[in-house]
Amino acid sequence: MTAIRLENLVKRFGGFTALKSMDLSIGDGEFMALLGPSGCGKSTTMNMIAGMEEPSEGRILFGDRDMAGVAMGRRGVGFVFQNYAIFTHMTVRQNLDYGLRMARSPKAEIARRTAAIADLLQLGDLLDRPASGLSVNILQRVAIGRSAMMEPAIFLLDEPLSNVDAAFRAVMRTELKHIQREFRQTMVYVTHDQLEAMTMADRIAVMDHGVLQQVGTPLEVYNNPANVFVARFIGAPGMNLLAGVPVEGAEGLRIDLGALGRSAVLDAPLAAAARRAKGGVQFGFRPEQVDLVAAGAGLGMTVGFVERIGARTIVHLERDGITAKAVFDNDTRVLVGDLVHLAPHPGALRLFDAATGAALREV
């Protein structure tokens, strides 16, 4: 087990900067998810940790050891590829003990470790089967087992569930989390799927355009996004962000939302945060954290489209070019064309500086 520290990491490919600057500490035994849309630099970061790419600037430390110039075969890193990269011309056993065979470990030791790993990953009955033509969940276990055989201090997983169908993903998420608990290794997990990051990771590092946006536990990232990007990216659907201007009144501070009218009076800490904004703000609230209220209160918007997805109903709202979404229970009676009035839960309001996109936090 080893902690990982990334210091001022930069990666350029010719004129293109894939990673602008990255500082991140990953704790010993922690499950860290690197989450972001494609092209955000998450895979580049992972490849540099594995040693497949050399950083253009900055340092990578495993514990106190600088990894610069350490070949990828010698870093003690287990890597699970997106397509698992199973050696399909070998049997499951030959895949599992590949690393140890190449290192010319004693036969007895290889047999002992293979048996232990096969037992842990329930591969015992499959050991002598050819690795080609196995199902995806078995391939994943073989890929993990093959790396685990080397007893790596760090496990890197590159979107291992992206080739799996949706129903199976839920099963594999649970299985992966279970495996991580068994191994108790530092795991770095690259994904663009927030559900995977949310359900498995101890902490999530959200990235966009080569820049680390926020690091935090899944709930921190969900509840208190550091900026507009994270607010929109996390959550399905993402946070509603409405352009507004803080307006002082007799009762306190409200946000003027243009055509939607004015928000309710903000509570004192949030009002203090809003006053720090130089110009306009983005008025944010989760679609899940709204109530329908009677006319005269809340924000009046027209129902444009209703998505019923089983457990919940997603309502798309519109007014004078301003759009928002709201999520209700499945039996909520709303029809396209209705004028509804939304009231975000008071504790759920988040404000962002319109100019910088950064969250305006209560101090």
Binding site: G73, A85, M150
Partner: protein, 314 residues
């Protein structure tokens, strides 16, 4: 019967009759092509068999259909068994094969490994490398004929390298002539080996190579455990192509040495060419060709069976 009619009453028919119908339609559709194949491969084979049992020659004054008038049973085949020149030509052909194919394979593999990675100027080198393959073999023959003259560039280069005058008569020395012929063959056909092997090498999944690296495999171990097994089929194909081609080696060699000095570089093709065009004993030539065909077929079947068995065992 048109297809519309067939499809109309198809459901009423039993499956067996339907399949029968399909097979007959298929036969009728492919009949012209089958006749053509029959004409260009089976017919000459039968003609060859027929002539090989006679003393027929184009100088005999008889058309080949009347060759039965010169029937001599299996006398030609008895002669083939005792033809020392034939068997030594076969031996020389085998020698060319045994030397050239492995050298071409190893060179091709080394070059392919080199070209699988990128390096500056790769495209230019690539074009230069495959150029020999595009040279007409006869032209290549003349090139090497001139290169290996006693006053030619090969001796010049050797002279300047060794710092003393070298005037080896390459093509007049039985051993050196063979060497020169092999050099020419290797020069011309290594590029083909290189191309085929490069295609195979590029097909090795990069992820698997990276995975092996991360598991601590050395470059040689990766080559042995990932690259070679994955390229097995393509290697067999490349080797098969070259073995067959080597067996037929003719044009370059014939222009360089004409099979000489004496019979020092006379291969099967050169020998058959000579007795066909100079001795004109076509009945005998037909017998030789059939024997070689038989020997090669047996060798091929044996090799394929062996490979298939190994494949199953692996």
């Amino acid at each position: 019967m048109t297809s519309a009619e067939i499809s109309k009453d198809m459901p009423a028919r039993p499956a067996a009759r339907e399949a029968d119908e399909g097979a007959r339609l298929g036969l009728r559709l492919t009949l012209p092509a089958q006749l053509l194949v029959l004409f260009i491969s089976v017919f000459p084979l039968l003609m060859q068999l027929y002539i090989s049992l006679t003393d027929w020659s184009p100088l005999s004054g008889l058309g080949w259909p009347r060759a039965y008038e010169l029937w001599n049973g299996f006398a030609n085949y008895v002669d083939v068994a005792g033809d020392g020149r034939l068997w030594s030509a076969l031996g020389r052909t085998a020698l060319v094969m045994v030397v050239c194919v492995p050298v071409e394979f190893l060179l091709g593999l080394a070059l392919a490994t080199l070209f699988a990675d990128s390096f500056p100027g790769k495209r230019v080198f690539y074009s230069i490398l495959i150029m020999p393959m595009m040279v007409v073999p006869a032209v290549a023959g003349y090139m090497f004929y001139m290169l290996f003259q006693s006053g030619g560039p090969v001796n010049d280069i050797l002279s300047s390298l060794l710092g003393m005058p070298v005037t080896v008569a390459w093509l007049s020395d039985p051993m050196l002539a063979m060497l020169a012929v092999m050099v020419a063959d290797i020069w011309q056909w290594t590029p083909l080996m290189f191309l085929i092997l490069l295609a195979g090498l590029v097909g090795v999944p990069e992820d698997q190579m990276k995975a092996a690296t991360l598991l601590g495999a050395s470059p040689w171990q990766k080559f042995r455990t990932i690259v070679l097994p994955r390229m097995k089929t393509i290697i067999i194909i490349a080797l098969a192509i070259r073995v067959i081609e080597c067996f037929k080696i003719f044009d370059t060699l014939f222009i360089m040495t004409g099979g000489g000095p004496g019979v020092a570089t006379e291969t099967i093709s050169v020998y058959i060419y000579k007795i066909t065009t100079q001795d004109l004993i076509w009945g005998y030539v037909a017998a030789i060709a059939l024997v070689i065909l038989l020997v090669l077929s047996v060798a091929c079947v044996w090799a394929i069976k062996r490979m298939a068995r190994k494949e199953r065992a692996a």
